[in-house]
């Protein structure tokens, strides 16, 4: 174990996969967007001059190249940076990559990773603030990875690159500076294993990506008020570890879901629907969702906060769930 930032753990994972497999090829390489942490990977093009490709502003072309290169034997990671621009590549991401293995009857594969930075960023406004994970979840054939800690970003990024399937790797830049313990050596974390990030008995909070850390803080605070919150992080949406969530709801009987996608047909909708279908009898009250409201993202910080899954809304939902409101 050693302590490091989320950004350092992510950079370490990138270097590890580049070292261990020379098929790993970077198509674009702004893994930290424009944050100061970009210094951690600034030298990758110089370190791997034949394995890092600079891309024009052509997301559709770049993602398509990633899929094509993957089919032909490479392990490309395509970096789109701001998640909103994966929409430019939508035909390749949702209508090519996920169909390669299936349409070939299991003979071809497309082990490509699409990397994006998702979510509210402070001043991103309507066109630079997307969290496309729920649209992606509606697309069978894509793996979807949402790390929420330094250990997770390292372990999940390694597994994403090793996976034989097309994988979308989304992280929230607010996590970059977070510090935490990361195991040494091959720290791979298998895709499809949720983690109970905090055990509790009164209410299950399923949170994803940066919301996990936000909910852990809130849980710590609410412990002082006698509310014992269990925080479950699915870590990957596909494969999805529903069992861990059902088990938690089986224990608490209460469910709050906190996620940054827009509410309608969002990630929280799917988790709520599954629980209402498969674990209904365990529920002792309504399922509550705390999401980004169904509003385009406004620029002014006060407006952005107003429509986001903010602390106030999360606390209210938890208190309503446990009957303390």
């Amino acid at each position: 174990m050693s302590e490091m930032t989320y950004a350092e753990a992510k950079a370490a994972a990138l270097r590890q996969v580049l070292e261990e497999d020379e098929r790993v090829t970077l198509i674009g390489s702004s893994f930290f967007g424009l944050s100061p942490f970009r210094r951690l990977t600034d030298s990758l093009p110089a370190e791997y001059p034949t394995r890092v490709y600079k891309i024009p502003i052509a997301e559709l072309g770049a993602c398509g190249c990633g899929v094509g290169a993957a089919m032909a034997g490479l392990r490309p990671i395509v970096d789109i940076s701001t998640a909103s621009f994966i929409f430019e590549a939508w035909p390749q991401v949702v209508n090519e990559a996920p169909h390669v293995h299936y349409m070939s009857g299991g003979r071809a594969r497309a082990p490509v990773v699409f990397h994006v930075l998702h979510g509210l960023r402070g001043g991103g406004a309507a066109q630079h603030s997307h969290s496309p994970q729920s649209m992606l979840w509606n697309t069978p054939g894509l793996e979807i990875v949402l790390p929420a800690s330094p250990a997770d970003v390292k372990g999940l990024l390694i597994s994403s690159v090793r996976s034989d399937n097309p994988t979308v790797f989304l992280d929230q830049p607010v996590l970059f500076g977070m510090r935490g313990e990361v195991p040494e050596g091959d720290a791979a974390i298998p895709l499809g294993k949720a983690e109970v990030k905090r055990a509790g008995k009164d209410v299950t909070v399923v949170a994803t990506s940066a919301a996990v850390q936000q909910c852990l803080k809130i849980a710590a605070a609410l412990a002082g008020e006698g509310i014992d919150v269990e925080v479950v992080d699915p870590r990957t949406l596909v494969p999805f570890d529903a069992e861990t969530i059902y088990a938690s709801v089986g224990k608490t009987g209460r469910l709050v879901i906190v996620d940054e996608t827009h509410q309608s047909c969002g990630v929280a909708s799917e988790i709520a629907a599954r629980v209402a279908e498969e674990a209904f009898d365990a529920l002792r009250g309504p399922i509550r969702r705390v999401c980004t409201e169904d509003v385009p993202i406004p620029f002014a910080p006060v407006l952005e906060t107003a429509i986001s899954p903010n602390e106030e809304k999360i606390i209210r939902a938890i208190k309503l769930a446990v009957g303390a409101a």
């Binding site: 072309g61 770049a62 190249c65 094509g68 490479l74 070939s104 082990p111 298998p190």
Partner: protein
Amino acid sequence: MLPDVSAERLVAIGRRMLLIRRFEERLITLFQDKVFVGHYHVYIGQEATGVPAIAQLRPDDFLFSTHRNHGHNLARGVDPKMLLAEILGRVGGMSRGKAGTLHLSDPQRGIFHTSAVVGGSMPLATGAALAGKQLGKQQVSVCLFGDGALEEGAAYEAMNLASLWKVPIIFICENNCLEAREDIPGAWHTTCLTTQRLIDIAAALGHSTAAIDGGDVGAMWSAMSQALDRVRGGEGPCFIEAATIRWPGNFGLWPELPMGLTNLAWVWGAGEGPAAYEGWFREQDPLLRYLRELQAAGIADRDTILAWDEAVRKEVDAAAQFALGSPSPEPAEARRHVFVEAGR
């Protein structure tokens, strides 16, 4: 003009073209018999483009096609039995009936995945070329598409990337907009591109270009062999525009056989046909054109050609028998292969 290659290769090209023709004709009759569902696109009239282009690839090169992919698959040597079974949605197909006509593939022959999205294959092919460059085995990626692909933004992004990275790719645009019935050069009936010289766009994006008569096997052969030399030498992408005259049976998505089955007597000027299509079968049909060239060069006479036809028809019969005899997949097949399960 015949390509400057051995008689064996010339014969192989002709037989492959004939196989495509008979395969597609059979397919049309099978569709009319309601043996399979969906819409589909046949390669009749474009045999002289795909066959000489694909014949020159190495076994480990990569090939990308479109919605109009049967001919490219056959030219690459894919088994007609499995191809037909797949088009019919049978479990004996290469994809066990999951792909159908639009997504035929044969990864062992470098046909990993066929996109039926217009323009969709161009970024994919560029990426495969990147792999070809990166893996160091001088593999080339060849991408065939229609004139319509250049209406999609994806085409430009792919062409720019290919040029920027200097990857070993050959883009072949099969421009089938020259109407057989109104074959005025420059009259693009079905395309909505405002340019009339498609190669100008590719040239502006840094490609080495060639515009050829796509009905002429020799022209395609030499354009392709030059392009292959160039791209295997690491000099960056080539773009070939092959203008093919539109086969009169190409009625949108559901083709018909307005002249019936191709009558090989048309090669030697005998045989009647619908007067409306005289231009087609007397002059434009690229298969007949090529067979006439073989005959004129003394490489195949009438009997030889008829013997090829008999062999080809038998092959197609066998394919039909195999495909029709292959059952529909079990429902559970639908849930397999969403993800690669091994090694997870």
